[in-house]
């Protein structure tokens, strides 16, 4: 077991790689009632073409299968695992993103028992035709719920504008039609390919004794028989640099319009420190252009073009990345024009000042301290970072290193008319 100390933050992180390849991290948090654990596989909605374990050919699986598998893993021969967690006073959950599927619990008592339940249920799949069929109704309703959610439709609409082929444009839950094709054999095939310990990470944060807990996990894993598995082969089709659509308008049963501008990342082969630097620099740049301490924000706000739903964010993973700027608006076309204009002016060197960079860096550092009050944030983000070979605890030093020149260069390289798109939701009245 390795101990990593973060002096400034007064945190200690414990790490060990199990003999079966599983990465385990434990972060004790003093004073907290709660322990939060996530058990995550590097397998998400984008992994739809791969070579299944013990086979030689690529397969393409139905849309929404990673998410479907997430649902089904909770059901066992003797009932569902939620029951067991609640008997042990814990609440359990799971989520599927583009690149990950995470299973988690949080509890303030019976921590070891809950941890054992978490590890074991994820490592003991049980799928039958009957339960797979039953789940189609539930997930069908989940999909319908999202269909009525204008924010979700706006978000996905924008990604669909950006990507021609990359599976990030496919809705994480799939469609009612695509999930109908899913069988228990599909689930087992995906499970055995992606749920090997060497493709997974366990993170525990809370009021725990790391030595005792690591010992417990080590023993649990050594008792199980996992055969060594070769590296997983995934396939992604070549994705053009430019966006697929420059603009899309979707009509929905809403009263207020929504408008978002998206920028597709140009460089998507980064990982580790470089990816972290790219992600943080783009986020800092967006903050300098659209943050509330900026004149643009006040102008747009006072003119009634934006309201307090206005937001901006950059998401970067290996293989894809995009920035989104927008929100609810009474003037969707005007907002699209203004955002694009500000971005393009920034590309040519306007609006960015070294003074606002310093302010933004301070703001982000304070924001990071606030974020690490949250066990959920630590576990989820640490895992996301680790899967991209980055380290969550590098955030502050990396922020401090960002220079004004780097922001200017990023604005110049990242912002590009051909990689920009507009997505709008308009009331159908």
């Amino acid at each position: 077991m390795e101990k990593i100390v973060f002096d400034q933050l007064q945190e200690e992180l414990y790490y060990e790689k199990m003999t079966n390849g599983l990465d385990v991290y434990i972060l004790p948090k003093k004073g907290f009632n709660k322990t939060y654990a996530t058990f995550t596989t590097k397998y998400g909605s984008v992994d739809n073409q791969f070579i299944p374990l013990n086979k030689n050919e690529f397969v393409r699986v139905p849309d929404g299968i990673a998410h479907f598998l997430e649902h089904k893993l909770f059901e066992k021969e003797d009932g569902d695992v939620f029951q067991q967690f609640s008997q042990q006073g814990a609440s359990a959950n799971a989520f599927t993103s583009f690149t990950r599927t995470a299973y988690l619990f949080s509890s303030t008592s019976n921590v070891m028992k809950n941890l054992e339940t978490l590890i074991n249920f994820v490592q003991e799949p049980y799928f039958t035709e009957k339960t797979v069929e039953k789940e189609k109704g539930i997930i069908g309703q989940e999909i319908r719920m999202y269909e009525d959610n204008a924010d979700w439709r706006a978000y996905f609409g924008l990604i669909q504008n950006m990507y021609h082929h990359h599976p990030v444009h496919i809705d994480i839950a799939g469609t009612v039609e695509s999930i109908d094709q899913i069988t228990k054999d599909h689930l087992y095939e995906c499970y055995h390919t992606f749920y090997h310990p060497s493709n997974m990470l366990l993170f525990v944060v809370g009021s725990v004794d790391p030595t005792e807990m690591m010992q417990f996990i080590r023993k649990n894993q050594e008792e199980k028989d996992f055969k060594e598995q070769p590296e997983i082969k995934r396939r992604f089709e070549e994705e053009p640099v430019n966006v697929k659509e420059k603009k899309q308008i979707l009509k929905m049963n809403v009263q207020t319009s929504k408008c978002q501008v998206g920028i597709k990342a140009m460089q998507t082969d980064l990982k580790g420190k470089e990816l972290l630097k790219q992600e943080l620099t783009i986020n800092v740049m967006l903050d300098m252009l659209f943050g509330r301490s900026n004149d643009h924000y006040l102008q747009l706000y006072n003119e009634g073009i934006i309201d307090d739903t206005f937001y901006y964010d950059y998401t970067g993973e290996q293989g894809f990345g995009f920035a989104i700027v927008g929100g609810d608006t009474e003037h969707p076309d005007e907002l699209a024009d203004r955002i694009q204009k500000i971005l393009l002016e920034a590309k040519s060197g306007q609006h960015l000042t070294s003074e606002s960079l310093e302010r933004t860096k301070k703001k982000k550092i304070g924001g990071f301290l606030r974020a690490i009050n949250s066990p959920e944030y630590i576990a989820n983000q640490f895992t996301r970072y680790a899967f991209n070979e980055m380290d969550l605890f590098d955030v502050v030093p990396t922020l401090e290193e960002i220079t004004f020149e780097a922001v200017q260069k990023m604005a110049h390289d990242f912002i590009d008319e051909d990689r920009m798109t507009v997505g709008q939701i308009i009331p159908n009245r």
């Binding site: 907290f32 609640s86 609440s91 009525d148 301490s293 006072n302 009474e330």
Partner: protein, 424 residues
Amino acid sequence: MAVVEEIVKKKKGYQLHVVPTEKYKTNTLVWKMKAPLDEETVTFRAILPYLLQSSSKQFPTTTKLRSYLDDLYGANFFVDVGKKGENHIISFSVEVANEKFLKNSEPLLEKGITFLNEILFNPNVEQGKFHEETVTSEKRNLKQRLQSVFDDKMRYAGVRLVEEMCETEPFSLQPNGIKEKVDDLTAKSIYQYYEKALKEDELDFYIIGDVDPTEVENICDRLFSLQDRKPKEITMKHEVKSTVKEIKEKQEVNQGKLNIGFRTGTTYRDQDYFALQVFNGIFGGFSHSKLFLNVREKMSLAYYAASRLESHKGLLLVMSGIDSKNYEQALTIIKEQMEAMKKGDFTDKEIEQTKAVICNQLLETIDTSRGLVEVLYHNVIAKQTISIDDWLDRVKQTTKQEILDIAQKVQLDTIYFLTGMEGA
């Protein structure tokens, strides 16, 4: 040792609550203003905190104000308006980094409290009125917030149920105000209301973090000067209808929203409140509850089917998303679960499971400073002094008979269904 050590000090005009803890890397300040929920004042109170948050005398524009916060290592500042029972509550929250985790230390806590004091007592006012342009912007934003409820169908159905259910009671009001009244607000009338609120509201100030209580108290004594007041008390009736109200509304939606309201006659003030918590947990509060197991797991009718309590109004509210064609079936199953509760058709195991999860949930909530403030504030609302330890004990001590007694009090009041154009 108590789970949470809350130091409460009666100050002139307000109560100071300090919770010293080393848990967090930040210090959290929450200022709360409480008054009765009332048609006459609800819209004033809905806009007021947003006006105060946008600027002040010292920071006359949002840009200046937000730049200052960024410089304070991204101090987080936001306002919120909500209702707890028939009380209308305005909150101002500031979260500042604890300087001991920063390379260059500066006294951020004191700056945070000073900032909050500036926002509350030194607004951007001239000649007895708020800054006109800001008022215009914030009126537009308020309308926007009210309108946005319609666009989130899950929330919309929840709001509509309460509107229908509590038609004749103040509780039917939305904390964000009344859309039709927004245009009547003026820079002057809001300022007059502001002065009145500062004089009459019940005020509470929470400070959570690695702080020295004496130091905090000294800072507050130096900065805040308020008048004593006798806050208005609400008198709430438990309305009971003789027949069940059934409302169907059609809209272009893919998924129907079935929301059902029950009256329980029990609030946080009452002895049997903890039994009501356990009752709600067995019925629909969690993923082991009857609603989840029967509506979702057994029948695959919904992705979500759950219930929650309005603790200070005594309502139990059910929400679910279903196919419109399954309305009758879902309603029947939900009613059957309530009947099962009334008949005592639940096991000791279910009771124990539910108690464990409720205690877990409470302990988790107070792991966040904001959650802790919300939990502690229940006592202010209900004029109680229930500590977190009492809370946990009283949940654990609940008997099956007490749950059954609650069950007999629960009455179906209103069924609201938002349905697609083709269905039902």
